[in-house]
């Protein structure tokens, strides 16, 4: 009898999972399918559930520097890559020592500092938008990537520090002590012993920083208005016009924009899940 009840739960679980999978994946599939249609084929009712005459014209157009649209799109792509990469490198460089200090040292105000770092997560982007906009204008940083990098850094930092601290907490202090006795300076002990061990955490943090920066929209929308400087999420809007929207083009652009982050995330999700498990669950 018990066995049958477990089976019932199993069946229920599977049905639920299938439903969830349809919910999660079909919109993505529809994006892909649409992106391989011609603009004409997309505007059909009822829509074809698969492209009858699949075409890569949207991708060719977006990725070739020969035409205006392609030049523009590649420009945005490059901007996004640049802003995200710089943010990631700086973010890791700042988060690693901070997380290490929070994990290892017991200085006064450590706890308060740590929670003030986490507290950042609580505040709506819009609260910061106006004063930062004024500040950036005052510093002459409107329309520069620096304005975005500085802002994105603080987005990523709280969770990055939190995740990394979890990793450092799990690395026994004795390893560093042993290294120092074996002839390392404090910095060498950190660099030669602790850093390699926390590599998964650092990778996870880097992915996280990259994805947040890559996907950010509100600040990019507000701080940038030079057509040549836009990042992809904001640039995408330029392809969208109320009346003659090129939906297959938009879907192809969305797809290209999603590929790097999804690929990165899928390859490295193991690290990310581990970081979340070690950091988040233990708080």
């Amino acid at each position: 009898m018990d066995k049958r009840r477990i089976t019932r739960w199993h069946v229920f679980g599977w049905i639920f999972l299938v439903f969830l999978l349809i919910y999660a994946v079909t919109p993505l599939l529809w994006m892909l399918i649409t992106s391989f249609k011609s603009q004409f084929a997309a505007l059909q009712y009822p829509p074809d559930l698969y492209p009858k005459n699949p075409t890569t014209e949207q991708y060719v157009r977006l990725l070739s520097p020969q035409n205006d649209v392609g030049r523009q799109f590649l420009r945005y792509l490059l901007n996004s890559i640049m802003v995200s990469t710089v943010t990631t490198i700086l973010g890791v460089a700042v988060a690693v020592p901070a997380a290490y200090a929070f994990s290892r040292f017991r200085f006064p105000g450590r706890k308060a500092l740590f929670f003030s770092v986490l507290f950042r997560n609580m505040f709506p982007a819009v609260v910061f938008l106006m004063p930062l906009f004024i500040m950036m204008r005052w510093m002459g940083l409107v329309n520069t990537y620096s304005s975005l990098v500085i802002t994105y850094l603080t987005f990523g930092l709280p969770l990055s520090i939190w995740l990394l601290k979890g990793f450092y907490d799990n690395i026994p202090v004795q390893l560093e002590q042993a290294a120092r006795i074996d002839g390392c300076t404090r910095f060498q002990a950190f660099y030669l012993i602790v850093m390699p061990l926390s590599a998964p955490g650092i990778i996870a943090t880097a992915i996280y920083s990259f994805i947040t920066a890559w996907n950010e929209y509100v600040y990019a929308l507000t701080f940038l208005n030079d057509d040549q400087k836009l990042t992809l999420p904001v640039g995408l809007q330029r392809f969208f016009t109320e009346y003659a929207t090129n939906w297959p083009g938009l879907m192809a652009a969305s797809f290209i924009m999603s590929v790097p982050v999804v690929a990165m995330f899928l390859i490295l999700q193991k690290y990310f899940v581990r970081a979340l498990t070690e950091g988040a669950v233990k708080a």
Partner: protein
């Protein structure tokens, strides 16, 4: 190898004094065990030598050189940690070579020394494995190897055997002792296990509450414990302690408690007279007590609580004057719980302590 000298070493955390003015000297080539219950300050003391903690006061000298303010890497010491602290991402070979690499030892010499150490510890076949692929005993050897490739002035060991199972621990104990004899190394060894300290060390430093209670050879610590704490801590089963009042009865000196009295021999009577008051504590090892099943003169009446046979010896737990004594017996003897018995003290091996100062009262 070198002499290690502690001079009024103090370590304070805030207002908490973890090590209170500790002074002693470890001679060149000596094996000294720092022993005491957890929280007694022994590991803190070790970390002070290693330089992992900063001294609050006093001085530590190694080979006559004051090392207080040196970085751990400049102190020329090696340390074996309780959890071995092997670098998980390095192979055994890399672990062993790491201290040499940090000291910029030429590659040829480094390889030679690593191979020598591996041969000495019989871990040559493990050189290319990683720590997590090793058993506890093997990890222990690698940790030891990493300490001895460098030929340091002093070896520090922080409970290196406590993570091993009982059988392996006995074996490693013997190996460590042998290794010390062969290398004639200066070793400072922290343990909470007094048996380990007794069996391995040339000298024991017994600590409690941040205070060095006694620093002497294991024999003397066992035979002449400096105070009640050392008496109770060293030896297994622990020394039986019985509070008593000293009564002078027309020249004869008696120790008495609730429901019992014992005439003290002249040797012990002299000790008892040295007490600051009339309150003393009698201490008797389990082997210095004789159990009688019938009343005998000079004995104290008691009752058996329970009996523990261990094979070689049988331990009788006996209720005496509100305390429980442990007395070892010939396993042939048949004793039952609740049986009334009489205890005879071997007065030549009786210890007396002042009940107020808890210090040993030396015999007449």
């Amino acid at each position: 190898m070198a002499q290690v000298e502690f001079q009024e070493v103090v370590k304070r955390y805030g207002s908490f004094e973890a090590v209170k003015s500790v002074s002693f000297t470890v001679e060149d080539g000596e094996f000294v065990a720092l022993v005491g219950p957890s929280g007694c300050g022994k590991t803190t003391t070790l970390n002070l030598i290693a330089g992992l903690l900063d001294l609050t006061g006093g001085a530590i000298r190694v080979g006559g050189r004051q090392i207080n303010d040196l970085d751990p890497k400049d102190r020329d010491i090696a340390m074996v940690f309780q959890n071995y602290a092997l670098y998980p991402n390095k192979t055994v070979r890399q672990n062993l070579g790491f201290p040499l690499r940090m000291r910029k030892v030429p590659k040829r010499e480094l390889e030679e020394k690593v191979n020598d150490a591996a041969r000495l510890l019989d871990i040559t076949h493990l050189l290319d494995r990683r720590p997590r692929e090793l058993s506890g005993g093997q990890q222990q050897r690698v940790a030891l190897g990493r300490a001895l490739v460098r030929d340091p002035q002093v070896f520090l060991m922080d409970e290196p055997l406590s993570n091993l199972d009982a059988k392996l621990r006995v074996q490693m104990r013997a190996e460590l002792k042998r290794f010390h004899q062969d290398l004639n190394a200066t070793v400072i060894y922290v343990t909470h296990d007094q048996l380990e300290a007794m069996t391995m060390a040339d000298k024991m430093a017994v600590m409690s509450g941040g205070v060095l209670q006694q620093y002497d050879t294991p024999e003397r610590v066992f035979e002449e414990p400096a105070n009640v704490f050392v008496a109770g801590f060293v030896g297994s089963p622990a020394m039986n302690l019985l509070p008593a009042r000293v009564v002078e009865n027309g020249g004869a000196v008696q120790a008495a408690g609730e429901g019992w009295e014992l005439a003290l021999s002249p040797r012990n009577a002299a000790s008892a007279r040295r007490a600051s008051g009339d309150a003393v504590i009698l201490g008797a090892r389990h082997s210095s007590l004789i159990l009688h099943e019938e009343a005998a003169p000079g004995c104290i009446a008691a009752k058996i609580y329970t009996v523990e046979p261990t094979g070689d010896l049988t331990y009788a737990h006996v209720e005496v004057g509100g305390k429980t004594f442990v007395i070892s017996l010939d396993p042939q003897r048949r004793i039952r719980a609740d049986q009334p018995v009489w205890i005879e003290f071997d007065q030549d091996r009786l210890h007396l302590f002042d009940a107020v100062t808890e210090q040993r009262l030396p015999p007449g």
